[in-house]
């Protein structure tokens, strides 16, 4: 099975399994709840889950069925139940819950048509875990959809990351202002 980590929900994820003709079920984790639980900051990830619904092995980042080493791990597990050593531990539960809550609120705000406030909530999630590319890249996708469709501009992503890292390094221990929050128009009274 697969889990699409996509803040835009099932509608955004659906074309990809359909195009691939995937014959397995896909769920959509819009608030990155599983990723936050695992402390995963990137995708694609591969998890091997046993009959007791326990993760026995995980590769966080770079898992691919086109990678012979990854396929060999899966094949061996299916054949004899053995897996390479894996450092499996849940992330800080409170932090994971806070991040997911910000992402859930972002979803609600966007659903109400307040895109700027939604992005601001995603920025708050990112401040809790600045190394999360799962959150950072989805903020980019909302702010710069032209860089993701019809093709993903990876060169732009690299430059954008460098720009943001430089800005964040200059902000000091109190963190950066949240542009999406400060750019909001003043409501009329």
């Amino acid at each position: 099975m697969s889990i699409a980590v996509d803040a835009a929900g099932p509608d955004a994820a659906r074309p990809f399994p359909e195009r691939a003709g995937a014959g397995f079920p896909t769920l959509v984790d819009a608030h990155n709840r599983l990723g936050s639980y695992l402390g995963a900051r990137v995708v694609p990830n591969g998890l091997l889950v046993n009959e007791a619904r326990e993760i026995v092995w995980a590769k966080i980042g770079g898992f691919s069925v086109d990678n012979a080493e990854d396929v060999a791990v899966v094949d061996r597990w299916l054949a004899d139940g053995t897996v390479p050593p894996a450092d499996l531990a849940p992330a800080d539960a409170l932090r994971a819950e806070l991040i997911s809550t910000h992402l859930q609120l972002a979803d609600l705000l966007r659903g109400q048509g307040d895109a700027a406030a939604g992005i601001a909530e995603m920025q708050r999630a990112l401040q809790l875990d600045p190394d999360s590319f799962i959150v950072r890249k989805q903020i980019w996708m909302l702010r710069h959809p032209e860089r993701f469709h019809p093709t993903i501009d990876f060169a732009w992503q690299k430059e954008q990351l460098a720009r943001e890292r430089a800005a964040e390094a200059a902000c000091g221990p109190d963190g950066c202002p949240i542009p999406a929050a400060t750019d909001r128009p003043t409501p009329r009274t």
Binding site: I3, L27, L34, Y37, V43, L47, I55
Partner: protein, 36 residues
């Protein structure tokens, strides 16, 4: 040590809420991906 999966209910591609655990219970490769 194996790590227990959290109990999550997530929408499927049609938007139907589904318990993650209901799709498991046998040896399963769970592939996490993003369209971005």
């Amino acid at each position: 040590m194996p790590l227990a999966l959290p109990e999550l209910r997530l929408p499927d591609l049609a938007g139907r809420q589904t318990a993650l655990g209901d799709l498991l219970g046998h040896k399963t490769l769970v592939f996490m991906w993003g369209s971005w």
